[in-house]
């Protein structure tokens, strides 16, 4: 009687705290959720079923989902979503790098300070004067110099706080504003990106014209060599993990992710040389065979601690886009001399099918490096106890060893959290940026799944079908998150 009463009391206390939130949660999340789940099984069309027209609503069973499987647009948009997510590992690496650099910036003031201050003041004054009066074309370099000097001065004065603020700048500007800004920057005719790119490409054109062989054969060979090195490194790491009798299935998943996804993309990528595809296929198969042969039961879970699998996963994710870039290098090399005949043009970023997605990825990357992820990493770095580093110093550990054996494992929970959130957001994302910059892109090149949901639901008005897509997307995100929680945070306790 007594414990039961206490349990009830505890339940009431907990509920009382939760209640304000739970009310909103029910009203604006759970109820709409149930509604949308129900809608996924109907033919709800906003043109026929609204507050003015009440046509009978039909329960269509699984029809929406069956239609989805045969919808080429759904598969294309799914591919687009994954493509845009390839930037995530770079964004995470960038955030970590920025955080590491920020913690290393000396907080002491240096002796050159007064001199710097004087120069900067003069520069700022003359820069403002330049803006107020008429200005020459060359004034822009002066302006940049002024900007750089003032940033440096402020950085030295504040001991690095200014850099952190500036890195965070894209995050406290509203997303839509930065997207509009980048849309202007990408403009092929008036944007500064192509303006700055034109002389570089002219130089490249003349280089290709003078020595075409270097690009026809040299570039692919270099790229292939680098790709082989990356693949070999991955294979070696995976093999050592495997023979170290760590979790087989996780290594298999990692291997498949590293090599299988680029393989699939390459094979589906029209115009790719067969040799590349076969090469990647062979190396992928080699990893799987090697790893499978090493263990009698590759699907079984190892009993020993699975240390470092998160590391493995992160490295695999990082090498995946790297391999894609290298494959693109192999592809582009032989085509360059033909292009150089008429001069290599800067890309028509948002207007071209091939460049629209990389353009959006670069914007996201730019915004993501100094985002909340960096703040999380900074907090994580701050909470690593200095004793660990002192001990490592006594043992004579190098900077790389200190990073891989102290910093990285200690940051594993943060990395895991950022990775999970990044994957969840990435799979649901791409709507805002595509809506603002490309409206879905040339020929749907930047239409992600969330954008497809929006256009089905609010542009064509097929609410039922849109809900079905949304629930399939949810299932995908859920599956990925389960995989992550299952395999990702195993080495949190390193």
């Amino acid at each position: 009687m007594k414990p039961r009463e206490r349990t009830l009391r505890r339940w009431f206390t907990g509920m009382a705290f939760l209640l304000p939130n739970l009310l909103g949660f029910c009203a604006f999340t759970l109820v709409p959720l149930a509604l949308s789940f129900a809608m996924a099984f109907t033919d709800w069309d906003i043109m026929r079923h609204n507050q003015f027209r009440h046509e009978p609503l039909h329960f269509t069973g699984l029809e929406n989902f069956i239609r989805l499987l045969g919808d080429p647009q759904f598969w294309r948009d799914l591919g687009n979503t994954f493509y845009l997510m390839l930037g995530l590992p770079f964004a995470m690496a960038g955030s970590l790098g920025a955080a590491l650099l920020l913690t290393r910036v000396s907080r002491r003031r240096t002796a050159v300070l007064p001199a710097l201050a004087a120069t900067t003041l003069v520069l700022i004054a003359s820069g403002l004067g330049l803006l107020w009066g008429g200005m020459a074309e060359s004034g822009v370099w002066f302006l940049f110099g002024m900007l750089a000097a003032s940033v440096l001065l402020a950085g030295v004065l504040t001991g690095g706080t200014v850099y952190r603020t500036l890195f965070y700048l894209p995050s406290f500007t509203s997303g839509v504003a930065t997207y509009v800004l980048w849309k202007k920057l990408y403009n092929p005719h008036s944007g500064p990106i192509n303006f700055g790119l034109a002389p570089v490409l002219d130089r490249l054109t003349s280089l290709v014209r003078t020595s075409p062989d270097a690009f026809t054969y040299g570039l692919p060979v270099i790229c292939a060599g680098l790709a082989a090195a990356v693949v070999g490194w991955q294979v070696r790491r995976l093999r050592s993990r495997w023979s170290g009798s760590e979790s087989g299935l996780a290594a298999m998943v990692t291997g498949a992710l590293t090599l299988g996804i680029p393989l699939g993309l390459l094979l589906s990528w029209q115009g790719f040389s067969m040799i590349v595809a076969v090469g990647v296929a062979a190396s992928g198969a080699a990893v799987l065979i090697v790893t499978t042969l090493r263990r009698p039961r590759p699907w079984g879970r190892a009993r020993s601690a699975d240390a470092g699998l998160g590391t493995e996963f992160a490295l695999a994710m990082l090498s995946l886009p790297l391999l894609l870039v290298l494959a693109a290098g192999i592809h582009v090399g032989p085509a360059l001399p033909a292009l150089a005949v008429s001069g290599i043009e800067p890309p028509d970023w948002l207007g071209s099918y091939a460049w629209a997605k990389p353009a959006l990825m670069m914007v996201s990357l730019w915004a993501a490096i100094g985002s909340n992820n960096m703040i999380l990493y900074l907090a994580g770095l701050g909470s690593i106890s200095p004793e660990l580093y002192e001990a490592a110093d006594m043992d004579g550990a190098s900077a790389g060893q200190r990073f891989w054996h102290i910093t990285w494992p200690q940051l594993a929970p943060v990395t895991f959290f950022i990775g999970v959130m990044g994957i969840i957001n990435g799979m649901q994302g791409g709507f805002e940026v595509a809506r603002t910059m490309t409206a879905g892109g040339p020929a749907g090149a930047t239409t992600t799944l969330s954008y497809y949901i929006f256009s089905e639901g609010f542009e064509t008005g097929r609410l039922g079908y849109a809900s079905a897509i949304a629930w399939v997307l949810f299932a995908l995100v859920f599956a990925f998150s389960l995989l992550n929680f299952r395999f990702g945070n195993r080495d949190l306790s390193d």
Partner: protein, 190 residues
């Protein structure tokens, strides 16, 4: 950036410190330059905007006062402030209470409710946008402040962050989470 002396073993010398500052300045410029371009373009005349040159021929500072006469800027600003204010107030109040309930209190069914919350986080906001819109229409909240101050979909995120940091600081006496749980106390690397 409170206790960071452990990360770099030796304090960098003046030369290395300055080099680091230079590198950080360069990286910061990468973040600032797009905005600088925006500011410079804002000083251009409409005819000059299509011109790839960075600097306007004549800086038109009058562009800024003009904003207030072309669009009802103050009105838009007030809208943003009102909406943001209410959303923040409600979010912080309810999320803080909920995070406390999830992290520090023990009550039957707590973990299940928490995972229900977590699960909804994985749903695309657009899923809820469609029925939410229908509900707003039904309740006559379309075209009203109240309709916008409704619970935004990012709300569970706020609680998750808050919640997970509270998980991390929970004492050993509370129930240990399995590996499927959020970032758990034992593993926070303290």
């Amino acid at each position: 950036m409170t206790e960071t002396k452990g990360i770099s073993s030796k304090p960098p010398g003046p030369a290395r410190g300055l080099g680091l500052h230079g590198l950080m300045t360069l990286l910061s410029l990468g973040m600032v330059v797009p905005f600088a371009w925006m500011v410079l373009t804002s000083l251009k005349s409409l005819a000059e905007v299509g011109d790839p040159a960075w600097l306007p021929k004549q800086a038109l500072w009058g562009n800024y006062p003009e904003v207030f006469s072309v669009i009802p800027f103050l009105r838009f600003m007030a809208n943003s402030v009102v909406i943001a204010g209410w959303v923040t107030l409600l979010q912080v109040f309810t999320s803080a209470l909920a995070a406390f309930s999830f992290a520090r209190l023990q009550w039957p069914g707590r973990d299940r409710v928490f995972f229900l919350y977590l699960g909804t986080m994985m749903l695309p906001g657009l899923v809820m946008l469609i029925p939410n819109f229908q509900l707003m229409v039904r309740f006559g909240l379309v075209d009203s402040y109240l309709g916008l101050v409704r619970r935004p979909p990012s709300m569970p995120l706020a609680r998750f962050c808050c919640g997970s940091s509270c998980w991390a600081s929970r004492g050993p006496s509370t129930r240990r989470r399995r590996s499927t749980g959020p970032v758990s106390g034992r593993s926070s690397g303290r």
